[in-house]
């Protein structure tokens, strides 16, 4: 089924569905303005009472506001509307869903005449709230070897384009060190145009080091030194170059309060870098399958010329391909990294995390992190009525310029429901089986 999105500045128009078969969508949606309280029969009666149910919905559009980002669920709901007979209960449900998901002040659906006498169009007239307040939990995870990691943010949007965000984080599964602290950011999402965003972020993070990392550092004093606290000021600009292609560029000015050896003092250090990220994300929808392609490239470069005590260049490539057909999803994630020069720990690559070589202990692989990374993960998911089952296979290598740590493998299974996931991962190696359990949301 073709699903065309014809976008204008303040209007999204969903094209005519090829097949105009009437499906009993009444069964899928709860009652709207006809609060009869008697379930399906009431909805059926309500639909029967509306004179417009004999018309087929030709198109759906949104008016009143621009720059609304529709979720996949909402797009699917719109897609359901187009080509079906008009159903007031379904319309009310979609309106409520829009209001809830997009944090809108109001959604008023208008039924308007279509291009032919038996066709109608639906116009959702939307109105944003003057001030939007949003609390999210982007990450919440328990890892049986690394403990808890969590991140929470609260954001408010003022005067439509100005978003202020405050976040708290404690993460023990991403870098060589556990970091905890807060972040404050301001983003203007309309700098002359919706295509340009400007942001300023300030992070204050405290570090905790694993014993394995500290012991490894004692063996090789040439490796980077540990730090207790890290402050980051990061201005950035995001430009939507073309619809699926986004460029983000900016500077990261970090002040590190070093962790001195007992009885000595250590001056603060700076790690000032410029960075740029190019993102390409596109969804291809076919009649019976959906494909998603996401490719990222990130470069961070610190020079002495930026008053930085570190000089390094870090490249990170990421590619993701997802194919969904019916209840089945196949996903492939590829990540590669390359780091040259003298960098602080937080720039180093780590595997044995929540997403890379799951099941392995990252301190066993390299407690200091690596400067070269190659990793690939293949996941297969099958959606059941209540849960989604998944199996995954990770393979990757982490090494330094001169050495080679070899390729490691891990296997895992898991179940998820909505945003919650429970997984168990096994590192593939000779000898003992040492599984790792992970449970959480949004990871």
């Amino acid at each position: 089924m073709a699903f065309a999105v014809l976008s204008t500045l303040d209007m999204k128009l969903f094209g005519v569905r090829a097949s105009l078969g009437w499906t009993a969508l009444l069964t899928c949606f709860s009652g709207g303005n006809l609060a009869f309280g008697q379930g399906f029969q009431a909805r059926e009666v309500a639909a029967e009472a509306n004179a417009n149910t004999r018309y087929v919905v030709e198109a759906v559009q949104i008016s009143g506001e621009s720059g609304l980002k529709l979720s996949r669920t909402l797009q699917a709901a719109f897609e359901q509307l187009v080509g079906s007979h008009f159903d007031p209960a379904q319309l009310s449900e979609v309106s409520r869903q829009m209001r809830r998901e997009l944090h809108l002040k109001s959604v008023t659906p208008h039924l308007i005449r279509g291009s032919q006498p038996d066709m109608v169009c639906i116009d959702f007239e939307v109105q944003r709230r003057a001030v939007v307040f949003d609390v999210t939990l982007p990450k919440f995870l328990y890892h049986s070897k690394q403990g808890w990691s969590a991140e929470g943010t609260a954001s408010t949007t003022v005067a439509r384009y100005n978003r202020l965000t405050f976040g708290l984080v404690s993460d023990g599964g991403t870098l060589t060190e556990r970091y905890a602290g807060s972040a404050v950011s301001y983003e203007n999402t309309h700098v002359g145009t919706d295509r340009v965003h400007l942001a300023f972020e300030f992070d204050q993070l405290h570090q905790q080091w694993n014993r394995a990392t500290l012991m490894a550092l004692n063996r090789d004093p040439n490796d980077p030194q540990t730090y207790r606290d890290r402050r980051n000021f990061q201005p950035s600009i995001t430009i939507l170059l073309a619809r699926p292609l986004i460029l983000q560029a900016g500077g990261s000015f970090q002040q590190l309060q070093m962790q001195p050896a007992p009885g000595s003092t250590e001056p603060d250090r700076s790690a000032n870098a410029l960075f740029a990220t190019l993102r390409y994300h596109r969804i291809f929808e076919g009649s019976n399958q959906t494909q998603q392609v996401a490719v990222d490239y990130n470069i961070r470069s610190a020079k002495r010329a930026f008053s930085s005590d570190y000089a390094y260049t870090r490249h990170l490539w990421g590619a993701n391909y997802t194919l969904t057909r019916g209840n089945q999803t196949f996903q492939d994630d590829f990540t590669a990294g390359f780091l040259t020069g003298q960098s602080p720990f937080f720039e180093r690559f780590v595997v044995g995390t929540n997403s890379l070589l799951r099941g392995w202990n990252r301190f066993e692989i390299d407690p200091l992190g690596g400067t070269r990374l190659v990793h690939n993960s293949v996941t297969y998911r099958y959606r059941l009525p209540v849960l989604t089952g998944q199996v995954f296979y990770d393979a990757g290598a982490l090494w330094h310029g001169k050495g080679d740590s070899g390729i490691r493998h891990s296997l895992g299974v898991g179940v998820s429901r909505s945003i919650f996931t429970l997984a168990v991962a096994f590192p593939v190696r000779e000898g003992r089986i040492d599984p790792v359990f992970m449970v959480g949301m949004n990871y």
């Binding site: 303005n33 006809l34 609060a35 009869f36 309280g37 008697q38 009666v45 309500a46 029967e48 009472a49 509306n50 004179a51 417009n52 018309y55 008009f86 007031p88 319309l91 008023t108 659906p109 208008h110 039924l111 308007i112 005449r113 006498p117 038996d118 109608v120 639906i122």
Partner: protein, 199 residues
Amino acid sequence: MIALTRRWCLIAVVWAPLALGISAQALSVRVDNDYLRVNAPQLEFLTGKPLARLEDGNTVNYFGQLTVATGPERTVQSRSVVRFAFSYDIWTKRFKVTVMTPGSQLRPSAKNLTREAAQAWCLDQLKIDLARVPAEHPVYVRVEMRSEDPREADRIIGDGGINLSGIIAVFSRPVKDKQVHVAEEIGPVTLAELRKPHP
């Protein structure tokens, strides 16, 4: 001053019967076989925000109530309550009305109606059995139409039909911004007067 008084008298003499006539015509009661029914051509309830919602393709529900009451305190002797579902065909620009009786398979409806015809059809569905109209006392006949607030409907409509105490409470409540509530009353009249054939 005298001229003014005369002028006012003249105006009063000329216009009063007409005004009274209009007032009298706002609600008329008739006996139709064994039922008491009303006509109220000037009772306009398809107006305001409910009408705007209808023109946007929505279904808008109304509660209609016809009561027969006695005494200065209007003690209700009998009552007829009907729930209507209105819709507006955006191509033909005509209304459709369906009687929504919970638990009943019978749903009388009419379509391709003008606004006036739809309102009249609705009022015609409100009827009270003459056996339940006090014959010995003069009565007040009152008709009310109120657009439905979905939250009100949840409390009124149940598996067993329309909840009487709920409907009484709803009709006595002040209307919200998006609602329409209109009412007309006539009386006191006796059943004997109503049975008399109109000239």
